[in-house]
Every structure is written in C-alpha cells, then in structure tokens.
C-alpha cells in the first residue's frame, strides 16, 4: 500500500477535522473562553499537521504550525481568545480547506492561495511576537518547506521542475546597514539566468511597533533557470555571505552531469568532499563551511554527506552517487595494488622459453614412445600435461583487455568529427575482451583507419542524413567478442553503405577485373582492399587517397587474421576482423602431404574423414559432406608438391569466418602444440602459410593459414572459371618447401 492509496483516508479525516474546527469556532463565538472548544480546535489543527506531514504536504504543515503555535498560547492562557482571533482562525480554517481541496485535486495551491496563506501567517505572527524568532517551527527552520510546494506546483503545471536551481536566501539583519540591497543581488541574479519563481518570506517581519527600519527581515526563495555553475551563483552573494544564510541547491537534472563529471575525475580524488567539489555539486566554500561545522561538534559529528544535505548544499541523491563513486575508486585502487608491473621483454622471454619447453616436451614424448617403457611414458605424459598448463598460464600473462585501445578511438572520432562537421557517437561494446598484447598493439593502426573511414566516408553529413530520415547524429560501433577460438572485432557505421556500382566501375576502369565479370557482393566489397583503390569522390585530408584499405588488409593478414565486409545500401557498413587469440603458441593438428608436415590450427578444424574412394578416383574438386557441398583443396596441387603419396587420402574439414572447406591431405598425425615461429620477412607475404613450427622430431612444419587458403582456393576457382589461371602463387610456395 503506498501513500497515495492512503491519501483518501487523510482527506476524509482532514475534512472531519475541519468540521470539528468550524464547530469549535462557532462555540467560541458564543463563549470565547470555552476551554473544551479551544482544546478541540488545537487538537484538530495538531492532527491535521501531523498527518499532513506524513504525506509530505509541507505547505499544510507549515501553515498549520503557525496557527497551532498561536492556539497553543491561547490554550496556555497567554493570549485571550477574542473575536479578532476567532475571525483569524476562521480564515485559517478556510485556508486549510483550500489547501486540502488542492491536495484532493492533485494540484498544488495556486498563487492567490499561497499569497492568502502568507498573509494569514503574517497575521498569526503578530500574536507570536518575538517567539517566532526564538523558536522557529520545527522543519520550518529549514525554510524551504514553505517553498517546497510552489516548487512542486511549478512542476505539476508542466514547467519542468528539474532543470532549475533552488536558491534559499536569508539576508542578515545588518545587510541594509552595510549598504547591501537584497534587491540588487536578485537583480544581478537575472544576469545568470531566468528567475522562474520568487517567493518573498515576510514572516520574520515583527509588528510595526517593534520593527527596526534599518534591519533587513526578508528572506527569498528563488527558482532560477540558469546554465551557470554553482560557484558562479554562489559568487553573486559574495558580499553578503558572512551575514546571511545562502543556500543553493543544484537542479535535479544536473545529477546525471555530476555523475559524468565524477567519472572523469582523476583517480587520486577519492575524498567525498573532493569528489563533490570536483564535479561542481558543491563549492569549495560550502565544503569548508560544513567541515568547520563538523569540527565544531566535538561529540558525534555528523558524516560529511549528511551534514551537506542538512545544510541544504546538495540533494541526498548526489551524495549517494558520490559515495558510489568513492567506493568504486577505492575498490579499483585495491585492485591496482594487486597488480604487478613486469617488463614486456621479460614476459616475451618467458613465453619463448615456454615455447622451447613445449617443443622439448613433444620431442621427449616421441622418444619415450620408442622405448616402449610404460612407466617412463606415464611420467612423461604427466610432465607434458604440466607443460600444457604452464603454456596456458604463460599465454594468459600476455592477454590484455582490448578496451584500452578502444578508448583511444574516442579521440579519433572527435577529431574527425571536428574536421568534417559531423556529429557522430562512438559506441563501444566488449571492451573487456582479452587479446594478446602484441595483437592489440598491432590492431590499433588498422582499426584507426577503419574508424576514420567510417566517420569520414561511411557516415553521411547531417543534412544528408536528415534527408534520408535518419537521426542527425551518426553512430560508429566498435564491438569485440570471442567467437569460436578467435576474437571478432567489428567496426560498423550506420551510414550510406558501400556503393557497389561505383566500386565495380572503378575496378573495371583500373583493370582489376575484366569488363564482363559479374561478382557477388562479397567479391565486390573485397575489391576495396586492392592497392590504390578508392572511390571517394573527393580526396579529403583524412582518408580517401586510396592508400589504406590495402594496408589494413595487410596488417590484419600479418596478424593471421581476416577481414570481411558486410554492407547494405542506406543502412551502413560493417568491417568484421577475425583474429587468432594468440600469435605465439597454438593448438594445432598435424597432417602430412607428400612427405611434408603441415600444422592446421586446431580451432579451425571441424572434423576429419577419409576421402571416399569414388571421389578420389574422379579427382573431384568438391566434396559432398552429408549433403553439403564443400570445396576440396588439394594441397599437393596448391603447393605443387611432389613426393611419396600415402595410399589413402584424408580430408580435414576446416572452417573460417562462416565458410567451410575440405583440405585434401595424405596422413592425419594428430594434435600437437605448435610454437609458431614467424617466417623470414622474405616469405612473410606467402598466401596460405602463416608461419612455421618445430616438431617434436626436430623437423620443421609449416603452419597453414586457413583463411588465406580459402581465399586462394576461391581465386583459383574463379580464375579457372574465367580461364586466366594464375601460376605464380603455387610456384612460390613450392620453392619454399624444397
């Protein structure tokens, strides 16, 4: 049951009490000294105040409090009940009824009603005399209560309640004597923004006889719509600060800003006060004042956050956010404390050594098999298992989160936006995806290029976007995720997409493809990776000079990765980069072809099968696998191998980036750990091979690059279809293997 459910009960009760009040007042009109009636009147007022407080109806609470205070004095015999007072209480009762009517209509009291209330409070104040100063009503000492309701009022009337500052000004009695005119300050305030609402608190004004005309009795509650920061607003009241009580509450809507600002604070800032000052929620001066106040209370001083809220410097929500931030920073710092910085070369050395260990352990395993000594073999398998684990742990040491690199791209996007006048947001997902440090480092350049391209060419100008019915703000998404033993990094934009016709035209013009060739989308998109290929209409400062995309491809190839493109006209383009988890040691599958050993990265291997005799006899270049037709890559032909062939042929079914193919090999030799040694730079560009490794036997085996092989196969296929078969690739590899 919520409060609003109970509201009807309150309303019914209040109406009953109002009737009681009226009855009592009627009796008092006849017999002003009737104590029962006075007590009943007091009790009714008191009950209304109490339950209104429960419902947060502060206007009613405050108003009733004044009436109650006067009634209290009547009850105590300090004030005689006379016809003037009875009329006043009648008016008060009617006013209360108005207020309660407003609550029932779910409205806040309108201006006239509030003005009436203020006038009544002033009339009541006459009967309280100096008591009003000496003993401010509870909850009213924090005077905004009086104003809280106009605040709500503005909100409910459709004006946004959330974006205005709340200034609570209590000018000191001496300000006028010092030549300070409250009006000038308020006037000055209009330079900072628009005063949405101003309420003058006159209840401190004593009866005329006691009033000192040189004293200032005024307080103001001001709601200000302003872009200024808190320190600036506080600065307005610099000259009266000492004598007056100035409270400035930031708009609720700033909460989100504060949160953002808090996040951008340096990690060193971790004291609550520093955080709050740092984000501008409170000013240095407010902090110092409250700290002084805290220090002044020797016994049981309040917590800083509480004190700030109590002093109305800040909303409790902001303190809560700041406390969260504080916790977070502390947590991160304790995490940092558990980190150890190690020089990268030490780590590389360790990985190298683990690599050697893996090779040595493999050799040991091969040799132990020959001895046929089962006890020895058992021990060696145990060692091999441990070596595996050490390898995994060592590789893990090199894994870093990709997010650090990603953050750098925010700047890239911002800079390019500035140059091109576009408004583009970079959305990052999967920043915690882990990848080998060297891969992350080497990925930075190609990613920068892709992102620049996306911002510069991919996403249209705001005007073009608007014409297409897209939001002005474009979006570039950077996404990293683990996918089947590799890491996928995607750069996508919601721009116009690649222009198929323009790319084709350009390719034909440059002679990259023959005039009459028809290509599927994938093949067309891949054309942009050709050297010197750019379709940008005009060359900009940033990209479009036709250098770049081929470099992107080369960089990614060098990482044993692949890149594919997906593009839809009018919807955008996605570059999908697929990378191996690590460059140094992989699980591999050893096969032999014509007496040569090759390692297929295990994460690309789907299954192995014997080549059906019929297919072998026909020399098919396709394989039907449970109804699915796969291209069959004959490594002997691709690599021009000559040597003793096995009796049986086997097929290793591999997959990469959603494509499948069968590799035709002689023998399947089983799983192994391959420590990848890069090929000499002379051979670095070889398609189909990504490195070499040393086997347990001491022999060298080449590590196959499955994505490269597939491209190769695709090219051979299309070229053979068009009849212009290229020979250079195969012969280069052939030379290497010899």
């Amino acid at each position: 049951m919520s409060l609003s459910d109970a509201l009807p009960t309150f309303l019914a009760e209040a109406r009953g009490l109002l009737e009681e009040m009226e009855d009592s007042l009627r009796i008092l009109k006849q017999i002003p000294s009737d104590t029962d009636a006075i007590n009943a009147l007091f009790r009714a007022a008191h009950t209304i105040k109490g339950s209104a407080g429960l419902f947060g109806l502060d206007v009613i609470v405050t108003f009733t409090h004044h009436a109650e205070s006067v009634l209290d004095r009547v009850r105590d015999g300090l004030l005689p009940m006379d016809s003037v007072l009875i009329t006043l209480f009648m008016d008060c009762r009617d006013h209360l009824e108005n207020l309660i009517d407003a609550v029932e209509r779910d409205e806040s009291p309108d201006g006239p009603t509030l003005g009436q209330g203020a006038a009544l409070v002033a009339r009541l104040a006459h009967y309280l005399g100096s008591d009003l100063d000496a003993e401010p009503p509870p909850g009213v000492g924090a005077v905004p209560l009086v104003l809280e309701d106009p605040v709500v009022n503005l909100g409910r009337n459709g004006e946004s309640d959330d974006d205005v500052w709340h200034l609570s000004l209590r000018f000191g009695p001496d300000v006028l004597r010092h030549g300070m005119d409250p009006l000038s300050f308020i006037h000055y305030l209009t330079k900072m923004g628009e005063i949405v609402h101003l309420f003058t608190l006159t209840d401190a004004i004593p009866p005329a006889a006691e009033m000192d005309p040189e004293q200032c009795y005024l307080g103001f509650e001001i709601r200000l719509r302003s872009e200024a920061d808190k320190a600036t607003l506080e600065g307005v009241f610099d000259f009266v600060r000492e004598d007056s009580r100035i409270r400035i509450l930031p708009p609720g809507s700033r909460l989100a800003d504060f949160r953002k600002l808090m996040e951008s604070l340096p990690e060193g800032v971790q004291r609550l006060g520093e955080i709050l000052v740092g984000c501008g929620a409170i000013t240095q001066r407010e902090l110092e004042d409250v700290l002084d106040l805290q220090a002044g209370q020797s016994t049981d001083p309040p917590l800083l956050g509480e004190a700030l809220v109590r002093e109305q410097c800040i909303q409790p929500e902001v303190v809560a956010v700041a406390l969260d931030r504080q916790q977070e920073v502390r947590k991160r710092q304790t995490q940092d404390a558990r980190l150890l910085r190690v020089r990268a070369d030490k780590l590389d050395l360790l990985i190298d050594q683990v690599g050697e260990l893996v090779i040595a352990s493999a050799a040991l395993r091969v040799q132990s098999k020959e001895t046929q000594d089962s006890v020895l073999m058992e021990s060696i398998y145990e060692v091999a298992r441990l070596v595996d684990e050490i390898r995994d742990s060592a590789m893990n040491l090199r894994m870093v989160e990709i997010g650090e690199t990603f953050n750098r791209f925010r700047r890239v996007v911002r800079d390019v936006c500035k140059e091109t006048g576009k408004d583009i947001e970079l959305v990052v997902h999967g920043a915690d995806t882990q990848l080998d440090k060297s891969v992350v480092e080497r990925l930075s350049d190609p990613l920068t290029h892709l992102i620049r391209n996306a911002v510069d060419h991919g996403i249209e100008s705001p005007a073009q976007r608007r014409a297409k019915g897209k939001p002005d703000q474009g979006q570039v998404r950077l996404n990293a995720l683990h996918d089947a033993g590799s890491v996928l990094v995607e750069v996508s934009d919601d721009g116009g997409g690649l222009d198929r016709e323009r790319i084709l035209a350009k390719a034909r013009e440059r002679g990259v493809i023959p005039e009459d060739r028809e290509l599927d989308d994938n093949a067309v998109w891949n054309l942009i990776f050709e050297p010197g290929f750019s379709t940008a209409h005009k060359v900009s400062n940033l990209s479009g000079r036709g250098v770049g995309m081929d470099v992107v491809r080369r960089d990614i190839d060098a990482l044993r990765g692949s890149v594919e493109i997906e593009s839809r006209p009018g919807e955008g383009t996605t570059f999908r980069i697929r990378l191996p988890l690590s460059l140094a040691i992989i699980d591999g599958f050893l096969v032999s072809v014509a007496g040569n050993d090759y390692v297929v990265p295990l994460d690309t291997v789907l299954e192995c099968l014997e080549l059906p005799a019929t297919a072998q006899a026909r020399g098919d270049d396709q394989l039907s696998l449970r109804g699915e037709i796969l291209p069959l890559l004959r490594l002997t032909e691709l690599f021009r191998l000559q040597g003793p062939r096995g009796r049986r042929r086997n097929v290793v079914v591999v997959h990469w980036a959603g494509r499948k193919a069968g590799l035709l090999v002689d023998d399947l030799k089983g799983q192994l750990q391959a420590v990848i040694k890069p090929l000499d730079s002379l051979f670095a560009g070889l398609p189909g091979v990504s490195g070499s490794t040393i086997l347990g036997s001491g022999e060298v085996a080449l590590v196959l690059d499955v994505s490269g092989l597939m491209d190769l196969a695709l090219r051979e296929e299309t070229q053979s279809r068009t009849g212009s078969r290229s020979h250079n690739n195969g012969s280069r590899i052939h030379g290497l293997v010899q």
């Binding site: 004597r177 010092h178 030549g179 300070m180 000038s184 006037h187 000055y188 307005v236 000259f239 004598d243």
Partner: protein, 122 residues
Amino acid sequence: MGKTVMIVDDSASIRQVVGMTLRGAGYTVIEASDGKDALAKLNGARVNLVISDVNMPGMDGISFLKEFKARPEYRFTPVIMLTTEAGDAKKSAGREAGAKAWIIKPFQPNQMLDAVAKLMGP
C-alpha cells in the same frame, strides 16, 4: 537617473582604469587620491557606491571608511575595498569598520563591474 561611484586610490592608473570602465558602463565617477581627498570631495555629494583602496598615503582606506560611515548621509552607502591580500589583518579591521565587499587586486575591469552591479542593482 545616473548613479555615482567614487573611486579612492592613490594610483592614478587604477583611478583611470576604474573611472574609464565605470563611465563606459554609464556611471558618473568621482575620483579621489586618498581618504582626505575623498572626504573633501564628498562633502554632502550624492554617492551611490565607494570603491576604496586600503593602503594609501595620507588617510588610509580603513580610517577613511570609518569617517565615511560615521557621516549620517553615507551610513547606507556600500563600500568596496580594494586589497592585495585576502584574509589578512587589514581585512578584519576593514570588516569592523563596516566594509563587506572586497575586490582582490589585481582585478580585471569586468570583475569590478560585476561587483558594482551586484551592489547597485538595476
């Protein structure tokens, strides 16, 4: 009706800059080189605001402030003190003498205009 501001400073350049800035903003400006000069020039004249240096030969700012505030016609006239050091003994002396507004030197003309605007109203 134009408002009148008096600037009391022994530095002619400060008087000049302050005077220029204030006149530019539409105020009438009376310049005085020290407290004595200021009191002499005031002599019942209508002044809406006084800006006074603290350290001046002849009569210093604090003494001037005391005498100025003692004159009934200027009791409610706001005074801005110009000071080089914030929060020193001079300041508390000035506070006792009735100075509430301070501008710390060096200041930009705009800062001074802001301070004046805060005290002078529309």
